[in-house]
Amino acid sequence: MDLKKTFDQALWVFHLNTGSCNGCDIEIVAALTPRYDVERFGIKLVGSPRHADVLLMTGPVTRAMAPRVKRVYNQTPDPKVVLVIGNCGTTTGVFYESYNILGPIDHFLKQIDPDVKIVYVPGCPPRPEAIIDAVAKAWLVLEELRGDNK
């Protein structure tokens, strides 16, 4: 079986909340429901990172979540792309200088994988269209990783 081909039509995503306010999370769900319906692209939310091609991460990393971010990233099979949704996951945003916020998500991902592929979706929260737009950008990255870009 050609593993590459199986990725072509359907991206499976795993959603991990690393300490977000839930604003981005409801916009992700909004993108799945009738108005935006990303399932028409074959995008599906799955319950385990081991099934996922794309990781959706939201929120600044709290003290309790930091080891779990790394664990989830390691459990996801290659090739993988991380979508960081919202500005607090990108840079910690409003939650800077707290004793319980350890930093933005990429800070931890780069510790374990310096070549991690991340697409950021700025917004507080981003509209569902911005998330779909970013998924398309993640597609480009996945294609480049697989060498499909002629």
Binding site: M65, R68, V94, F95
Partner: protein, 409 residues
């Protein structure tokens, strides 16, 4: 304890609130014997951050405590700040705009909850139906405030944006659309035999327990307790409107405090919110929408202020409180305490979950509206063998769906 008991942690991600929760269940077979709630995974130290910033910065930090109830934290914080500073005379028009926004948010929050509750029962048709309807109120919120979530509307001494007359027909159109669809929603949720089987008598909270543990919001009203800040202590324009707390027994249902009663309360509150918004739109007085237009002057006024205030707002999930203390010649807050609704409902969770079947845990936990989309992992530890088996949200959801299927036969 019998041989057959298991420890059963659920969590840890539960990001609805400032305090996401981890459950530890002690199970006997399929039945929950004891439960311990361990929040703190999502703890971001909000109050600590707020005490290092000025009031206007904290205003927008407060909004980001929770993305689903973003308005309510800002509202309660604004009320507390105004009461602490005692220099702002909130214009009447601003008071009306405030309650319109708060009620629009209640609409979107309850519809969101209805969808999530249906999903927990394995009834995804209803999830998509309620979220389809919900998009209309999101549009209206975006038109008024310029963003679908995190509306940035409240402000010491008024609101950030006016609702100009040309936007009002659009809001009314959506309200009419909701009135047409309300009966359909009520029929699909309350008349469905499978939903009745899954929710009646499940996760009950007695009136006595609801009062003793100081629960708030629809959770307590479903048990028949007349507690609603908009009625008990009407603030802003709520003082002009005759609001009755929604109690199931007033509408021909039972005050059982179970999941079904929770659905009843929230659905009827949708209808109540539509009425309140219509009244407020029709009776909105003209005039300014802010006590002081110059932002820099507001900052100076807040810097000079000295005092303490306590703001309470009835959020979709229940009473929401902020305590604020300001000190003269000090930019940052001297003290700040945030109390989200679910904070008071944690103890109700324990009462509701004990004695439930494992397949019912997700809907019972969802019944207090903690924004459940986040129950991502369940680890089962067998106390006899010490073996650990990781169950994902999918397995957990599957158990729930299977139970629905069994009932349907």
């Amino acid at each position: 304890m019998a041989d057959t008991t298991y420890t059963f942690p659920i969590g840890p991600v539960h990001p609805a609130l400032k305090e996401p929760t981890m459950f530890k269940f002690v199970m006997d077979g399929e039945v929950v014997v004891d439960v311990d709630v361990q929040p703190g995974i999502n703890h971001r130290g909000i109050e600590f951050i707020g005490m290092r910033r000025n009031v206007l910065q904290t205003l927008h930090l407060a909004e980001r405590i929770c993305g689903i109830c973003s308005i309510v934290h800002q509202y309660a914080f604004t009320l507390a700040t105004e009461r602490a500073a005692q220099v702002f005379e909130v214009p009447e028009r601003a008071q009306y705009i405030r309650i319109i926004m708060a009620e629009l948010e209640r609409l979107h929050s309850h519809l969101l909850w209805a969808g999530v509750a249906a999903h927990e029962l394995g009834f995804d048709t209803l999830l998509h139906l309620s979220w389809k309807i919900r998009e209309d109120v999101q549009d209206v919120l975006e038109i008024i405030s310029g963003n679908r979530v995190n509306y940035a509307m409240y402000y010491p001494g008024g609101v950030r944006r006016d609702i100009p007359p040309e936007k009002i027909p659009r809001i009314k159109k959506v309200l009419d659309h909701y009135k047409e669809n309300f009966q359909m929603l009520a029929d699909t949720f309350l008349g469905d035999p499978v939903i009745k089987h899954r929710t009646v008598g499940v996760g009950t909270l007695s009136k006595k327990d609801a009062i003793a543990t100081s629960t708030v919001g629809p959770t307590t009203r479903a048990s028949g307790v007349m507690k609603d800040v908009r009625f008990d202590q009407p603030y802003d324009a709520y003082a002009d409107i005759d609001i009755k707390p929604v109690i199931p027994s007033n509408y021909g249902f039972e005050d059982a405090g179970d999941v079904y009663a929770n659905i009843v309360v929230r659905l009827i509150e949708v209808a109540q919110s539509i009425e309140i918004i219509e009244y407020a739109l029709d009776n909105m007085p003209s005039g300014p929408y802010r006590a002081e237009m110059n932002v820099n002057k507001v900052l100076m006024m807040l810097r000079k202020a000295d005092g303490e205030g306590f703001g309470i707002h009835e959020a979709p999930r229940g009473e929401m409180c902020h305590y604020v203390r300001l000190k003269e010649n000090q930019d940052n807050l001297d003290a700040w305490k945030v109390r989200a609704s679910t904070y008071n409902n944690i103890l109700a969770w324990q009462k509701k979950l004990i004695g439930q079947q494992i397949a019912d845990v997700s809907i019972v936990a969802a019944s207090i509206d903690p924004c459940i989309g986040c129950m991502d992992r369940v680890a089962v530890v067998d106390s006899r063998t010490g073996k650990e088996k990781i169950m994902t949200d999918v397995d957990f959801h599957r158990l729930s769906v299977e139970k629905t299927k069994r009932l349907r036969k």
